[in-house]
């Protein structure tokens, strides 16, 4: 081996990140040089992390130069591993950080009103993604990561999943399509390490879902996960729309179908507009497909971060079509979307009346309930119960529950 085997990884001069230059040698042990914006306070700790990472990766003789801008250890480890993997094949699973949080198995049933996208190669943005109250976070390996950084991003996303507390958020990773050279490597890197749900882009058919499922199931077995990772197909082509029902029904792991407007409009050769006329039919069809398959359905992102009014109008329209959530590209979009998807007090009140009327009728042995002159039939009851479930999940019923507990002395 010659001294000329050199690689680089990381992002130079970016806050919370670092640049790594790595050269493997024939002998001489590990030589480390560290430049860091926090060197006088963390220099020893950084050097220790660098040494341990190299040892765990099996690099015994090398020269490494770190240019650090205050990156945390799990980021330093990810960047070194990326550089090492660019240098040569690494035996074993890599240098995996300790798991900081135990979330338990993925939950199929949950609110998915907002899914916050975060670029998978940006440690600083990903770190705080769980703080803003989104129902889900998406660590993205696809469109927000350039082809030359796919390998580094997936290591960073793995380390982030293990190191960062996302609280109650669903942790979604958007992989690259399996049809690309990246897709199956993405799965291998993230499935065993604490992801709830895999967002599969450009999903067009049941086969696409099954192919992803097969790899996931293999990894679950290999790593003895003891739970099933969920799948969320992203539908963003005409063909995908036409096959929505089959895609949604392709696996028990599918929890929701999502719409991707940018790629869809490109696919059908239309311009994307704020009003979304060009995708109106497609979105309606996606709702039908998802509902027929018994899964949730989630609308695309609203791209203008400044335009809150537009966002609210767009979300209201999505809700009217039957969507249960939207993609989110900035934390400021979360609260307005949640406000739209939270049932209004009048609707909750009415739903309570409906359920009370039905239960009263049943207890009196009658199959028919009415409120005023209006007959309450099964679909009205179903909708009312759904609203109450949602209201309860959002804590909108709590007050009355407490009052009731007070009255009944806590029993029921």
């Amino acid at each position: 081996m010659s001294d000329s085997v050199k690689t680089r990884a990381g992002r130079e001069g970016k806050k919370g990140d670092l640049a790594v230059r790595l050269t493997e040698k024939d002998a001489g042990g590990i030589e480390i040089s560290v430049e860091s914006s926090v060197g006088h306070m963390f220099g020893q700790q950084i050097e220790k992390t660098v040494r341990e990472t190299l040892e765990r990766l099996g690099l015994e003789n090398c020269e490494i130069a770190i240019d650090d801008m205050g990156a945390f250890d799990y980021v330093i480890m990810a960047r070194i591993e990326a550089a090492a993997r660019r240098l040569r094949k690494i035996e074993g699973p890599g240098c995996i950080p300790d798991r900081k949080v135990d979330y338990g198995p993925p939950r199929r049933e949950r609110l998915r009103r907002t899914r916050l996208y975060m670029p998978g190669n940006n440690p600083d943005l990903m770190r705080n993604g769980g703080l803003y109250g989104a129902d889900s976070v998406i660590l993205d390996l696809e469109d927000s990561v350039s082809p030359g950084e796919k390998d580094a991003a997936r290591i960073l996303v793995r380390n982030t999943l293990l190191s960062i507390d996302y609280f109650d958020c669903e942790r979604i990773v958007r992989i690259n399509p399996l049809s690309t050279e990246y897709g199956s490597d993405d799965l291998e890197m993230v499935v065993p390490y604490g992801v709830d749900t895999i967002l599969v882009p450009k999903c067009e058919s049941a086969e696409d879902v099954k192919a992803v499922e097969k790899i996931i199931a293999g990894l679950e077995k290999k790593h003895s996960l003891g739970y099933e990772v969920l799948i969320m197909p992203l539908i963003e082509t005409a063909k995908g729309i036409l096959n929505a029902y089959e895609t949604g029904a392709a696996s028990d792991r599918v929890v929701a179908l999502c719409f991707g407007a940018e790629d869809f409009t490109a696919d059908i050769g239309a311009e994307r507009t704020k009003e979304g006329t060009e995708s109106f039919t497609a979105r309606s069809m996606l709702v039908l497909g998802a509902k027929a398959a018994g899964v949730q359905v989630i609308d695309t992102v609203f791209s203008d971060v400044q335009d809150e009014e537009g966002l609210v109008a767009n979300t209201e329209e999505a809700m009217a079509l039957g969507f249960e959530g939207k993609g989110v590209i900035h934390p400021a979009q979360i609260a307005p979307i949640h406000a739209v998807f939270s049932p209004a007090p009048e609707r909750i009140e009415y739903a309570k009346k409906v359920v009370a009327a039905i239960e009263k009728a049943r207890s009196e042995g009658s199959g028919v309930a009415t409120i005023g002159s209006k007959m309450i039939d099964a679909p009205i009851e179903t909708r009312a119960r759904k609203i109450l479930r949602l209201a309860e999940a959002l804590g909108l019923l709590e007050e009355e529950k407490n009052e009731m507990n007070g009255k009944t002395g806590g029993g029921s």
Binding site: H40, G70, F72, N128, L131
Partner: protein, 514 residues
Amino acid sequence: MVPNVLGRMIPEEIDGRKLKPFMGAHSGHGGGRKAAPPIRAVPDYADKLRASLDEAIDACGIKDGMTVSFHHHLRNGDYVVNMVVDKLAERGLKDLTLVPSALFPIHEPLIRHVENGVISHIEGSMNGPVGRACSLGKMSRACILRSHGGRYRAIQDGDINIDVAFIAAPAADHFGNCNGHSGPSACGVMGYALADSLYADKTVVITDNLQPFPVFPWVIKGGNVDHVCMVDKIGDPELIISGTTRITRSPTRQLIAEYAARFVRDIGLLDEPDFSFQSGAGGISLAFLKYLGDIMRERGVVARFARGGSNRYLVDMLEEGLIEYILDGQCFDLVGVRSLRENQRHLETDPFTSYCYHTKGNFAPLVKVGILGGTEIDVDFNVNVNTHTDGWLLHGIGGFTDVTDSQITMITAPLLRGRLPVITDSVTTVTAPGEVIDVLVTERGIAVNPARKDILGRLKGSDLPVRTIGELRDMAVGLSGIPEKPDYEERVVALIEWRDGTVIDTVRQLKAQT
């Protein structure tokens, strides 16, 4: 060295001055008599207008070892401090004590005068480059850092005798009446110069906007002024006032601000009569105003007063009727200056009325909630605003310790700044003791000082993420690791003075880095 009540080691004496160790935030009482300036008679001030700054300086008879003072309302646009000290250096003066109410990066040229022995040390406040020079041991005597109220107290009590006060004035008459409301260098409030004008042996007003008598309001009264002189420019208007104070765009900082506003709502402060608050002009503070304003509007709450730092967001609230009065300590932008000039409900204050611990006029305890920032806070809620974790002295106290008189004192800060944890086991330097800090708001949770059981009780039923400060520390340190301690020399280069004149902590010289 003796330990003070917080266990910090304090020298018994430094540069011939006996030191009193800090005994607790409210253990000091009044007593003694105030200092007094010399008496002047009518023939002494027949004509106060000097032909030039040189003439004004020469008329003051400044000698080696004397004390000269300045205010900082022109902030980073101030020309006057450098201009005057250059002239004092030209006269070959040595060993001067500088008493500015604050210094800024524009005052970096002072370092040369420190190195040449013109300035022996600084009492008051210093930021950035001058603080850095102090950390490196360049001052021949130990500096003293005081809050705005503490500076007023030290001057009033005679701990500092100002020989000559130089007061930069955006509008002045030849009699010495002046204010900051108008003129090319308008800065708004000018209250930090009040003590200087009242107690200095000689007072010089320096203006670039001389108006016929009388200039009114006379924030600084001509009756306290000895000499007036004109210069071309007292400052750079662009830098005196930031044209645009901006709400932070960082989602994390916005979240902290939102939590802070929800905290104020959830503990029921808005349901009490005569709500009042104080928040600064930093990004988080401005975002706090936005969220607080939204909540107040929704609930129909009107604050009786807000204590400024005025800025356009606070002025918007005043003009919308969400606040009845702004009691202003300094104007951070042009909207603040305009409002002060035009709105009778926008009142000018000074440390005598609002900050000084040794007066009967300190209204800070009437403020229901004060929102502050900080560089470090420890698990005992002690706060550091002066030094960084690496030991460099980089900030003055400003009004920080005075604002802790608020009924609830809240610190807002991100859990981590880059890799640096903001919460530590023990702060590098104590600026304010944990006993006066009631709550810490971070993006990952809110910690209430366990001594404030009342606040904890009032938070029941809130959906805010309430945690212990230990839990927050663990979250921060769990990610960052524990930073290595700075490498100090033995020598104490600065004292951190509590509001009552006792010493709460010291800053030591840093070892020169290779």
